[in-house]
């Protein structure tokens, strides 16, 4: 019979396999029970364990309502502090304090409420930023949803004053002040653009005259027939005639002015015109060409002027 020779590599492999197969036994949850229960929410609240009917259980499958809108009221206590015990008792019975937070009914409570023992090492980190001057200290912070600013802000911090009603009123005032200062902050913030004024101040109106006809309408362009030629008195031409003697340019400018002015008078007085508007306009253009001036009544070209 051959003696059994133990292979060290085989032994090591077996040891590793055994170790891994034993591992799940160390970190165990009852998977079978999880599967057997199926869809279920069991609310263990110390009152109705084992009495939940199927209907209630189905309704309870949904998570509770979002409560991120609730303010936080925390009371930091010390184990040997009589005032802390007094405040705890007051908060269980006093209607003013209960209106702010109900320690026995966290769902119905207006604010999230917590009592913290300052000697509890698990909570030391949470309050490390606070300067505690006495016990019990009441700390109020805004809701988690950010409706009243950063949730980390300390909105109120005070040692209990000994009078529940006064204490509740102080907390309420602090919350109101926080809310109003946020609202004021919002209204003081300038808009990115100045909106148009809703009221018209007659005192601030600027003088206004309707623009000349040819400047007024751009689209569609005025046709020459619709344009009334307006020519101002050619002062420069008149002066040059007086000062320098005969000048074709000055004579033509005066002639144009004279023709346009006479035609204007006749139009206003309702007399018959010697020339139709198109013919008169062509005559004026001809005279202007003699003068070397550009066309006087320029019709805007929407393609280039727009």
């Amino acid at each position: 019979m051959r003696s059994l020779k133990l292979n060290p590599i085989l032994l090591t492999t077996l040891a590793v396999l055994l170790a891994f197969s034993a591992f799940p036994l160390l970190a165990d949850i009852d998977e079978g029970e999880v599967l057997r229960l199926g869809d279920m929410v069991q609310h263990v609240d110390g009152r109705c364990y084992g009495q939940t009917s199927e209907d209630v259980a189905i309704e309870a499958l949904k998570p509770p309502a979002d409560d991120t809108h609730k303010w936080f009221i925390s009371v930091i206590t010390s184990p040997r502090c009589a005032g802390c015990l007094e405040l705890k008792k007051a908060w269980a019975t006093d209607p003013w304090l209960l209106a702010l937070a109900d320690p026995e009914d966290s769902k119905a409570s207006w604010a999230h409420f917590g009592i913290y023992d300052h000697t509890d090492k698990t909570q030391t980190e949470r309050w490390k930023n606070l300067k505690i001057t006495g016990y019990p200290t009441i700390v109020v912070q805004p809701p988690k949803n950010g409706d009243y600013g950063p949730p980390a802000d300390v909105v109120y911090q005070s040692v209990y004053c000994g009078d529940p009603q006064r204490q509740a009123a102080e907390i309420g005032e602090a919350i109101k002040l926080r809310a109003t200062s946020l609202a004021a902050g919002h209204s003081q913030r300038a808009p990115p653009w100045q909106p148009p004024s809703r009221e018209v101040d007659p005192q601030r109106l600027l003088p206004w005259d309707p623009p000349a006809e040819r400047d007024r309408r751009l689209i569609p362009p005025l046709v020459p027939d619709e344009v009334d030629i307006e020519v101002a008195f050619p002062w420069q031409a008149a002066l040059s005639l007086l000062a320098g003697g005969f000048s074709i340019t000055a004579i033509v400018a005066l002639a144009i002015w004279l023709l346009v002015t006479i035609r204007g008078w006749r139009k206003e007085s309702g007399q018959k015109l010697l020339l139709s508007d198109p013919v008169f306009n062509r005559l004026i253009k001809l005279l202007e060409r003699l003068d070397g001036q550009p066309d006087a009544p320029k019709t805007p070209d929407p393609k280039t002027d727009a």
Binding site: I29, M40, Q42, V44, L61, P63, S181
Partner: protein, 186 residues
């Protein structure tokens, strides 16, 4: 050069872990270390971390003998959790089945966190969820000093591997770590 600098900033922002203040369960490392799983008590370790977060001594002392009760050690199922929570007067939602994802999202959104099935036959602590990116953060009681980040897909795989079961403490969430800042008018 300018573009490279901007790209570096964008990359850093994308790769940065979630800010500590964004986590629902934001416990310091030295506290988490005390909830290392010593003997298959992963469910109690996970509930314990939630107990610290929500300031419930009856919950966070589950692993030890205290005035709140004797130590609860070893593996658990939903019925055992219900029994010891009832005995110690700990209010919990003990949820199994397909609504667990909804409950986990609610627990993180409201700042509570949850003890959850995560990995084969294992329970861990859900410490955060970002609904915008659907990223989940979990603290494993086998390596409690670090926070593990999961995409939604990998987190689903992790949770489903254990069977759908979560435990949420029915207590208010903790306030944010307070800071002094002048918000009132002068």
């Amino acid at each position: 050069m300018k573009h490279a600098f901007l790209a570096a900033i964008v990359l850093a922002a994308c790769c940065a872990p979630i800010g500590a203040t964004d986590l629902a369960v934001d416990l310091p490392e030295d506290i988490r270390r005390e909830f290392r799983n010593p003997d298959g008590s992963c469910v109690q370790c996970s509930i314990g971390m939630c107990g610290v977060n929500q300031n419930q001594p009856a919950a966070w002392t589950l692993l030890w003998d205290t005035e709140y009760g004797s130590a609860v050690r070893g593996g658990s199922g939903p019925s055992r959790v219900a029994r010891y929570c009832q005995a110690r007067n700990i209010r919990v939602y003990n949820v199994t089945g397909k609504t667990t994802f909804e409950w986990m999202r609610w627990a993180c959104a409201t700042g509570r966190g949850a003890a959850i099935g995560a990995g084969r036959r294992h329970f861990q602590t859900l410490v955060g969820h970002d609904p915008e990116t659907n990223t989940w953060w979990v603290c494993n009681n086998n390596s409690p000093t670090k926070i593990d980040e999961y995409s939604d897909r990998s987190f689903r795989r992790l949770h489903l591997a254990s069977g759908q079961w979560v435990v949420v403490l029915d207590y208010p969430p903790p306030p944010a770590m307070p800071v002094y800042r002048q918000w009132w008018p002068e």
